[in-house]
C-alpha cells in the first residue's frame, strides 16, 4: 500500500493525471507508478454477416481474429510505451524521482483490482463525454470496484491550495476525516468541512467532532452546515470559497437505490469542475 498509481490513457486528461499524481507522490513521499492499460475490448469488432461456415472456418476465423488482435496490440503497445515515456518525463520535470512505468493487458477495472494491494492512491482522468447519466461509465465501475482512495482529475492541473470535505457523519465520511487528518497529502492546506442538513444540535456536534479531529492534526478546518440539496450546496460552497479539490465518500447507498434514483457521487463527479478525491 505504498504507490501512487496514475492511469495514463493518451487522451487530453493524461497530462493533468500525470501532474496531479506527481503532486500527490511528492506530498506523500510515495513512489509514483504510471500505468497504461491495453484493453482489447475497446477495439472495434469486425463482422461478417454471411452466416456460413465452410471447410476449416473455425481455424480460419481463429487465425484471422488472432492476426487482427496482434496487429492492433502491437500498435497499441508501442503507442502506450510512448505515452508512458512522455508521462514519465513530465513527472520527472515535476520533481518526482524515478517514477516507474507499467503496461498491462486487460480491462482497466481488472488491472486496477489486481494492482490495488500495492496502491495508496489511484489517479484517474475524467472524460466528460464518456460520463453517462446512469449506469455505464467506466470510471464509475472503477470507483465502485476499488477499495482505495481515488482521485478523479479534471483535464487541467491547478495545484490544490484549499480543499473541502463533504461530511454527512456516516461511517465512510468519519473515516474520511480521520484519513485526511492522518495523511500527509493535504498537510498545511486549509480543509473546509461542509455538512448538508438542517441546523440541529446533533449535526453541530458531529461537525465539531470533525473540526476537532482535523485541528488536532494541525489543519486549519473551517466548517459549514447548510440546508438544501446536496449537490447544489456543495457546488455553491465550492464556488464561494474557491476550493480546488473536493473530498467525499463514494457510493454510500445501495445499488438498487442508485439504479432508481441515481447517485450523488456520480453526479458530483460528473458536474465537478475541480478534482474529486473519493474515499472508499
Amino acid at each position: 500500500m505504498t504507490k501512487v498509481l496514475a492511469c495514463i490513457d493518451g487522451t487530453d486528461v493524461s497530462p493533468a493525471v500525470c501532474d496531479y499524481a506527481a503532486w500527490a507522490s511528492l506530498r506523500m513521499t510515495a513512489p509514483l507508478l504510471l500505468l497504461h492499460v491495453l484493453d482489447k475490448s475497446e477495439y472495434p469488432i469486425q463482422s461478417n454477416l454471411s452466416g456460413n461456415i465452410g471447410l476449416g472456418s473455425r481455424e480460419a476465423l481463429l487465425e484471422e481474429l488472432a492476426a487482427l488482435d496482434e496487429k492492433r496490440s502491437r500498435l497499441a503497445l508501442e503507442q502506450g510505451r510512448e505515452l508512458l515515456a512522455a508521462a514519465r518525463a513530465r513527472a520527472v520535470a515535476a520533481g518526482v524521482t524515478d517514477p516507474a512505468t507499467r503496461q498491462r493487458h486487460g480491462s482497466l477495472v481488472e488491472t486496477l483490482v489486481e494492482m490495488e494491494d500495492g496502491a495508496r492512491l489511484v489517479v484517474l482522468g475524467k472524460h466528460d463525454e464518456h460520463l453517462g447519466e446512469h449506469v455505464g461509465s467506466r470510471l464509475e465501475s472503477v470507483v465502485r470496484t476499488l477499495h482505495r482512495p481515488i482521485l478523479v482529475t479534471t483535464p487541467e492541473y491547478h495545484r490544490p491550495r484549499r480543499v473541502m470535505l463533504a461530511f454527512d457523519a456516516s461511517a465512510t465520511t468519519r473515516k474520511g476525516i480521520e484519513m485526511v487528518a492522518a495523511s500527509p497529502l493535504f498537510r498545511g492546506l486549509p480543509c473546509h468541512v461542509v455538512m448538508v442538513g438542517a441546523d440541529s444540535a446533533e449535526h453541530r456536534a458531529q461537525l465539531d467532532w470533525a473540526r476537532d479531529t482535523l485541528t488536532a492534526a494541525g489543519f486549519d478546518a473551517p466548517t459549514a452546515l447548510r440546508a438544501g440539496e446536496v449537490e447544489r450546496v456543495l457546488c455553491d460552497y465550492r464556488r464561494e470559497q474557491d476550493i480546488d479539490l473536493l473530498i467525499m465518500g463514494a457510493y454510500g447507498h445501495s445499488v438498487i437505490r442508485r439504479f432508481l434514483v441515481g447517485s450523488t457521487t456520480t453526479s458530483v463527479i460528473r458536474d465537478a469542475t475541480v478534482p474529486v478525491l473519493l474515499l472508499r
Binding site: 461478417n48 465452410g54 476465423l61 455505464g136
Partner: protein, 492 residues
C-alpha cells in the same frame, strides 16, 4: 457488478444485435431439422431453442456462446420419443437440467481437463458426421428435384458471400428455394409436412407423465446421457469461444446455466439442448461478443417463427438439408485430417476411436468415455516408459548396485521387476531408489517381491533412498495440504 453488466451486455450493441439476427436465421432451420431427427414436432425444437438461448444468455458462463436445441442431444432422444412419446421427453429434459445444475454445484466442469484434445477433436468430428448422416433420410427415395434443390442450396450458401457479406447466405438459400418450390408447385416435402409449427408464444406446462418411480427409471438413463453430452458439448464450445475471442469463461456457471435452460425448456414444451459449436462460431464471425447476442438470437428466432409461421411451413426440406450439410461441414475439424500424419499415432488412434464409437452407437457420451479411457491408458503407458535402470558390480565382485530412475506404478511395476537379475549368484544387492518415484501400492508390492526373491537366493538386500521414493506415494502424503510436499516430490 455494474462493470460486468456493462461488459456482458452493452459492450458491443450493434454487433451483437446483427449477429443475433444472423444466428436466429440459421437457428430456425437447425431447430426444425433437429426436431425432425428427434421425431417430434418442429415447434418442440423451436420452443427449446428460444428458451435455452434466452436462459443461457442470462445464466450461462460464456458470453457470446449460442445454445439451443442441438443434433447431439436430438440423437439421444430418438428411442425415448419413439417408445414413450413427447411427454416423457419433456420430463427427461427437466431431469437433465437438474443433473446439470448438480454437476455445476459439484464443480464437475473442471473435470473437462481430463478430456484430451484428441478426444475433443474426435467429438467434434463425430458430431459433424452424425449431423450429416441424419440428413440422409431426406435424400433417399426422393425425386431428382430434391437433389437439384439441395445442390443449388449448397451453391448459394458457399458462393453468395462472394457477392455480398451483408446478407446471411443461408437465408438467401431458404428464400430462393422456397420461392422456386412455391412457383413451380413442386411436390416435395416441406417443413409443414414435418409436424406442427408454433403459432403462439410457449406456455408453461408440467409434462403430463405419472410422477412415479417407473417414469424415473424410464427417463433416468436418457437424462444422464443428455446431461453428459450437453455439458461436454457446451464446455467444448465454451473453450472454442474462449480461444476465438481471447476472453475467459466460467465453466461451472455454464453447467448451471445449461441446467436452468433445460429445466425451462422442459417446462415450456421444448426438448433438451446445449451449446452449438457451429452457431457459436457463426455468432463470433458475425461480430457477436456479449450476452446480448445470445438473447437477441433467441428472441428473434421466436418472433420470426410465430409471426412468419405460415411461410416457414412452406420451406422445402431440401433447403434445410443444404443448411445442415453446411453446418456439418463447418463443424468438422478438417485440420485434424491433415494432422493425422503429423500427430503421434496414439493421439490419432484416440481421435479415430472416439469418432468410430460415436458413429457406431450414435451416443457422443460413449465416444468420449472410450476416448478418455484410451487417452489415459496411452498416457500411463508413455509415462511408464520414462524409466531406466543401471547396475554395476563392485570391484570385489560380491556386491551389485542397481540404480532405478523413473516412475514406478501399476503400468510399469512388472518392468521394474524385470530390471533385476535374480540368477546372478552374489552376496549383497544394493537397490538405489533415490531417483525413483513410487506412485501406488502396486509399485510398493513389486519392490517387496524383488526383495523377497533376492532373499530366497541367499542374497542380502540393502535399499537406499526408500524413504524419498515412498514419499512420492502421493495418496498417503496428500500433497495438497502440505506446501513443502511438492518441493520434496520434485527434489529427487
Amino acid at each position: 457488478m455494474f462493470h460486468t453488466f456493462n461488459k456482458d451486455w452493452l459492450g458491443n450493441v450493434r454487433g451483437d444485435v446483427l449477429a443475433g439476427l444472423v444466428v436466429a436465421l440459421a437457428l430456425i432451420p437447425e431447430a426444425i431439422a433437429f426436431s425432425v431427427i428427434a421425431g417430434v414436432d418442429p415447434k418442440v425444437g423451436l420452443y427449446a431453442s428460444f428458451c435455452i438461448a434466452v436462459v443461457t444468455a442470462f445464466l450461462g458462463g460464456r458470453p457470446g456462446m449460442i445454445s439451443a436445441a442441438t443434433g447431439a442431444m436430438a440423437l439421444l432422444m430418438i428411442t425415448l420419443v419413439k417408445d414413450h412419446g413427447l411427454q416423457y421427453l419433456l420430463a427427461a429434459t427437466l431431469l437433465t437440467g437438474v443433473l446439470q445444475i448438480g454437476a455445476g454445484f459439484l464443480q464437475l466442469g473442471s473435470l473437462m481437463r481430463f478430456v484430451s484434445r484428441s478426444v475433443v477433436t474426435g467429438f467434434v468430428n463425430a458430431l459433424a458426421i452424425l449431423i450429416f448422416l441424419a440428413q440422409l433420410p431426406e435424400l433417399t427415395n426422393v425425386t431428382w428435384h430434391v437433389y437439384a434443390m439441395t445442390a443449388g442450396g449448397l451453391a448459394i450458401i458457399y458462393l453468395f458471400p462472394y457477392l455480398t457479406r451483408a446478407i446471411p447466405s443461408p437465408l438467401v438459400t431458404i428464400l430462393v428455394l422456397t420461392g422456386i418450390a412455391m412457383a413451380l408447385e413442386l411436390d416435395i416435402r416441406t417443413v409443414g409436412d414435418m409436424g406442427e409449427l408454433p403459432d403462439t408464444l410457449p406456455v408453461f406446462l408440467w409434462p403430463a407423465v405419472p410422477w412415479n418411480l417407473e417414469t424415473l427409471t424410464i427417463i433416468f438413463p436418457y437424462s444422464v446421457s443428455l446431461a453428459i453430452v450437453g455439458l461436454l458439448e457446451s464446455l467444448m464450445t465454451a473453450t472454442i469461444i474462449d480461444d476465438l475471442t481471447d476472453t475467459p469463461s466460467d465453466k461451472n456457471r455454464e453447467c448451471k446455466g445449461q441446467g436452468m435452460a433445460n429445466i425451462t425448456a422442459g417446462l415450456f414444451g421444448g426438448m433438451a439442448g446445449c451449446a452449438m459449436i457451429g452457431q457459436s462460431v457463426i455468432n463470433v464471425k458475425s461480430g457477436g461478443r456479449t450476452r446480448l447476442s445470445t438473447l437477441c438470437a433467441g428472441t428473434f428466432l421466436l418472433l420470426m417463427v410465430v409471426f412468419l409461421g405460415e411461410w416457414v411451413a412452406q420451406i422445402p426440406m431440401a433447403a434445410l438439408v443444404a443448411v445442415m450439410i453446411m453446418v456439418s461441414i463447418g463443424t468438422f475439424s478438417w485440420e485434424s485430417l491433415r494432422n493425422l500424419k503429423k500427430h503421434p499415432p496414439s493421439s490419432s488412434i484416440v481421435m479415430a476411436t472416439t469418432v468410430a464409437v460415436v458413429v457406431a452407437t450414435h451416443n457422443l457420451a460413449y465416444g468420449v468415455f472410450v476416448g478418455v479411457l484410451l487417452a489415459a491408458l496411452f498416457f500411463a503407458n508413455k509415462v511408464g516408459q520414462y524409466r531406466y535402470a543401471t547396475s554395476e558390480l563392485h570391484a570385489d565382485g560380491t556386491t551389485r548396485t542397481y540404480r532405478v530412475v523413473g516412475q514406478v506404478f501399476f503400468a510399469s511395476a512388472a518392468e521394474f521387476i524385470e530390471v533385476f537379475d535374480f540368477k546372478e549368484a552374489i552376496d549383497t544387492v544394493v537397490i538405489d531408489l533415490c531417483q525413483a518415484h513410487f506412485w501406488d501400492i502396486t509399485a510398493v508390492s513389486a519392490l517387496d517381491k524383488v526383495v523377497l526373491k533376492f532373499r530366497r537366493e541367499g542374497t542380502a538386500v540393502k535399499i537406499v533412498g526408500l524413504n524419498e521414493a515412498s514419499a512420492t506415494i502421493v495418496d498417503r502424503f496428500a500433497v495438497h495440504d502440505k506446501p513443502d510436499a511438492v518441493a520434496r516430490l520434485m527434489s529427487h
